[in-house]
């Protein structure tokens, strides 16, 4: 099963294994990983699922709508910023590590 490691702002980590088709946002909510809110339920409309992707993962291009929402994150957008609801296990990665921002809203 695909694996996601979340690095919390305070240094703690959570690693979860999730079925293919699960987004980084859903994986966090379903596995009690804090630090992701997902207020819009994964509609690319709230930017409360912001993550920073570690390392060199070959993810799909950022779409126009994701790009626009990434400009609205609570913590600064960096080069490796993505919306957790737009990056999906299996389809986009087998294993991934992400840093969580201090704040989502």
């Amino acid at each position: 099963m695909p694996k996601i490691t979340y690095h919390h702002a305070g240094g703690a980590t959570d690693t979860v294994e999730v079925p293919e088709g699960t987004s980084i946002m859903r994986a966090a909510l379903s596995n009690s990983v804090s630090g992701i809110i997902g207020e819009c339920g994964g509609q690319t409309m709230c930017a409360t699922c912001h993550v920073y992707v570690r390392g060199d993962v070959d993810l799909p291009e950022i779409s126009e709508e994701e790009d626009e929402m990434l400009d609205c994150t609570a913590d600064d957008r960096l080069n490796n910023s993505r919306l957790g609801c737009r990056v999906v296990a299996g389809r986009d990665f087998g294993e991934i590590e992400v840093d969580l921002p201090q704040s989502q809203n």
Binding site: A28, G38, G41, Q43, C72
Partner: protein, 415 residues
């Protein structure tokens, strides 16, 4: 000492969490009559019913969250009565639960169709995951005719998904236009086009008269015009009703919802109401309002938590809302009135634009289509009471994003 919360929906769960964030150290009991881990409702009429949709409802918080925050979540527990004198909450088949503070966050139920034939099989509502499950099974067949009664958000979200999944979809509503009460007429007209392009057949000025059935199952919806619309199943989206009985028995004042003041307090001491069922006084818009949105549920929850934790706070927040219908992501900041003056930015022919709505020269609402950055900027403007002028809105060189960004960095944000 304890706070009891009735209802673990968007409002109740957020209230429990915010009580902890605000430093509330006493007991928190969170009750819900549903058996599930509390989940998010908006996806139920969107991703959840799409082809290859979500496997399970999206939880509001993970299962471990409640224990970690010392929140005593009890699912499958229905509150049947409130005794506000003795400060007790009575539950079905259990001991009464005492409270020092009570938050009623019991949401609302789908309004039932009161007409002949309403008990037939194949008539569906869409409020709970069970409802969505039933509809998904119908949609998974990939064919058939469905009549949607009511062209509000939920009915139209469902209609768009059903049309995209290959069903033959008819929508009837006694109004003149889709989402008539909450959208500007020009935005509403835009959605008529969107749904028509999806193949949805819209019939306005057409109320629900009755359901027609054979062998206990619905076969058609009869409109007030006399026309009958054949169907394999029907979806009723006529809005919601709030359960006033629970409150009224506890001597809590109601008027199409539970009446609260600006602190979200009811007329009964130590009893608060938040979310879909709360009717509150709005300074922003004047008069009493009841809103059905995640924003309203979440922000009311945060506000009431502050008050209970010893930092009395008023609820006076500019509302916002979103909806997904086919290719369109609609986001609304503020509240529209059909009489508002509309200034369009961007170009609707590109499927990406926003409408800025003005009342007496003041910016009151912004409706955005596939333009989330406009929406986020609009929320900032309304939050800071720093509306732009009609001239600025008309000026296509005016940099809205930059203007909003400057607001958030320079303004003193009230806490």
């Amino acid at each position: 000492m304890s706070t009891v919360i009735i209802g673990a929906g968007h409002a109740g769960v957020q209230a429990a969490e915010s009580l902890r964030t605000e430093g509330y150290a006493d007991r928190i009991v969170l009750l819900d009559k549903a058996e599930h881990l509390p989940y998010q409702r908006p996806p139920l009429s969107k991703d959840y019913i799409k082809a290859g949709g979500d496997p399970a409802p999206l939880p509001l918080r993970g299962a471990a969250f409640y224990g970690e925050h010392d929140i005593d979540l009890r699912t499958g527990v229905e509150v049947v009565r409130i005794d506000s004198q003795a400060q007790l909450v009575f539950v079905k088949g259990g001991e009464p639960i005492p409270y020092n503070e009570l938050i009623i966050a019991a949401g609302a139920e789908a309004r039932r169709a009161h007409c002949a034939g309403n008990g037939l099989e194949g008539i569906n509502y869409l409020r709970t995951v069970e409802d969505a499950e039933t509809l998904r099974a119908q949609l998974d067949r990939g064919y058939g005719r469905v009549v949607v009664v009511g062209a509000g958000f939920i009915g139209l979200e469902f209609a768009a998904v059903a049309a995209q999944r290959g069903l033959d979809v008819t929508v009837i509503d006694f109004a003149q236009r889709p989402m008539q009460r909450v959208l500007s007429p020009s935005m509403s007209d835009y959605f008529t086009q969107v749904h028509t392009d999806l193949g949805v057949k819209l019939h306005f000025d057409e109320g629900l008269d009755h359901f027609v059935g054979e062998q206990g199952r619905v076969t058609a919806v009869a409109g007030t015009s006399g026309v009958t619309y054949p169907c394999d199943f029907a979806v009723v989206g006529l809005g919601v009703v709030t359960d006033e009985d629970l409150a009224a028995a506890g001597r809590i004042e109601c008027d199409r919802g539970i009446l609260v003041d600006e602190y979200l307090s009811t007329n009964v001491p130590h009893v608060y109401a938040i979310g879909d069922l709360a009717v509150f006084p709005s300074h922003h818009f004047g008069g009493n309002l009841r809103l059905e949105s995640v924003q309203n549920a979440t922000d009311m929850a945060k506000t009431v938590a502050k008050t209970i934790a010893g930092n009395p706070s008023r609820y006076d927040i500019a509302p916002w809302f979103w909806s997904n219908q086919g290719p369109v992501k609609l986001q609304i900041a503020g509240l529209a009135d059909p009489a508002d003056v509309v200034i369009e930015r961007g170009n609707r022919s590109t499927g990406k634009f926003s409408q800025f709505l003005f009342r007496d020269g003041q910016l009151v609402a912004v409706e955005s289509v596939n333009a989330p950055a406009d929406h986020v900027a609009a929320r900032k403007l309304l939050e800071h009471d720093a509306g732009i002028t009609m001239e600025q809105a008309r000026d296509h060189d005016f940099d809205l994003k930059a203007y909003a960004r400057n607001l958030s960095s320079s303004a003193m944000t009230p806490s």
